[in-house]
């Protein structure tokens, strides 16, 4: 599994997203740049210019027409993928930490930061997936997080729920239409922030990553914890692979947080776990700092990681990866013939 190294960013990566076809990779960084790359050879297609602060988040609509980004410059921006044109800018009182399109690209949520005088919120914008369309200025919905701020959020199947992960380690389920809070459940250790939330392809379940060194697989409908993956380092990101039943976790302690005695080289690895059996099955080394973001190619061919070191590493899975199977999986495959 020889990686392709994408070096175009000058500072820490914050999020990576593949488009649905798995041929494009979008990356954002504290260096205020949004980059788009060809997944198969790592060639940079272009950059999107306009943000004037660290960019925390990016997402691509399901038809690969537009992308949305959120930044420390307190804006959400919409971009034409092909031309790089900034189609729309929405302003907020605080930084935008996460954006996500719903399953048909007609709605976009944004998670805004909490700051003196401002509670954290989740805003919803109506989107027209058309580069020539006039976008709506008004927010369709605002959810105020008065207990603990949301750090991440996303849309479930049918846009039925908005699921948020919070700074206090809890998960909330909101009604996707009204924004009403349905449940709030402590899932991770108290006050260990949830750092990532990524969906299964059908958005019926999702994976979390937390500073409590675990990652969990949770149902969207009733927030039931299905699986727990135990790591030995604080986690920043987690993603679900397709084709194979694995999950990939990324994290690592920043150098300044590591005490001399517990310092250990090589902790900056992507960790593979079996999604169903919860065992760790492998690690991939390479980054020189914590992994801030991991993303699985939706077509199952590979994955990408983005580090505090400013690099994106793109890996294409090899035969050994696809051949790997537990005895009981092989047994079942043989039975299905």
């Amino acid at each position: 599994m020889r990686p392709i190294l994408l070096s175009g960013h000058e500072r820490a990566l914050t999020q990576i997203k593949y488009n649905r076809d798995g041929d494009l990779i979008f990356s954002v960084s504290k260096d205020q740049q949004i980059c788009v790359w060809f997944a198969h050879n790592g060639e940079r297609l272009g950059t999107y210019h306009g943000h004037v602060g660290a960019i925390w988040t990016v997402d691509v609509d399901p038809t690969s027409t537009i992308i949305a980004s959120g930044s420390a410059d307190n804006t959400i921006r919409l971009w034409d993928i092909k031309t790089g044109k900034n189609l729309k800018t929405w302003e907020f009182p605080t930084a935008v930490k996460r954006v996500e399109f719903n399953e048909d690209g007609t709605r976009l949520l944004g998670v805004t930061e909490k700051r003196m005088g401002h509670l954290g919120t989740i805003v919803v914008l109506d989107i027209t997936v058309d580069v020539d369309a006039e976008q709506n200025d008004e927010k369709a919905l605002t959810i105020v997080c008065d207990e603990s701020k949301a750090t991440v959020a996303g849309w479930s199947y049918l846009s039925k729920y908005i699921i948020a992960g919070h700074e206090d380690g809890s998960i909330s389920q909101y009604d996707g239409k009204t924004g009403d809070l349905i449940y709030n459940i402590p899932i991770h250790e108290l006050n260990m922030a949830i750092t990532d939330l990524q969906w299964s392809p059908d958005r019926t379940y999702f994976i979390t990553a937390s500073k409590d060194k675990t990652s969990k697989l949770i149902t969207a409908h009733d927030l039931e914890v299905l699986k727990t993956y135990v790591a030995d380092t604080p986690l920043n990101s987690a993603t679900i692979t397709t084709k194979k039943d694995f999950v990939v976790l990324g994290g690592g302690q920043a150098a300044m947080d590591v005490t001399r005695t517990s310092a250990r080289q090589g902790k900056f690895e992507a960790r593979f776990y079996h999604k169903i059996f919860e065992d760790e099955i492998g690690r991939v080394r390479g980054h020189f700092g914590p992994l801030n973001t991991v993303a699985a190619d939706p077509t199952g061919k590979g994955y990408a990681s983005g580090g505090e070191d400013g690099y994106v590493r793109v890996h294409q899975f090899d035969k050994g990866y696809f051949d790997f199977m537990y005895e009981v999986e092989r047994e079942r495959q043989n039975r299905l013939g």
Partner: protein
């Protein structure tokens, strides 16, 4: 005797995994059925994105289709 003990431990592990896999597959099956039913009730396609992509391709029209330039 030791070998037998190891062997039976292995068997237990495999049986446990067989059960875990079975539970997972049964859960997936029920969720997929429930969501398909919900989509049908709402008059929505099973794969919403496939529909969107079809619409996008149609919109591009014949002019923007790939042409071979010699």
């Amino acid at each position: 005797e030791d070998a037998e003990r190891v062997n039976s431990a292995d068997v237990a592990v495999v049986e446990d995994r067989r059960r875990i896999l079975q539970e997972w597959l049964a859960w997936r099956e029920s969720v997929e059925a429930d969501v398909a039913e919900e989509r049908a009730e709402l008059g929505l396609p099973i794969d919403p994105i496939a529909e969107l992509l079809k619409a996008k391709t149609a919109e591009l029209g014949p002019d923007e289709e790939e042409k071979i330039i010699e």
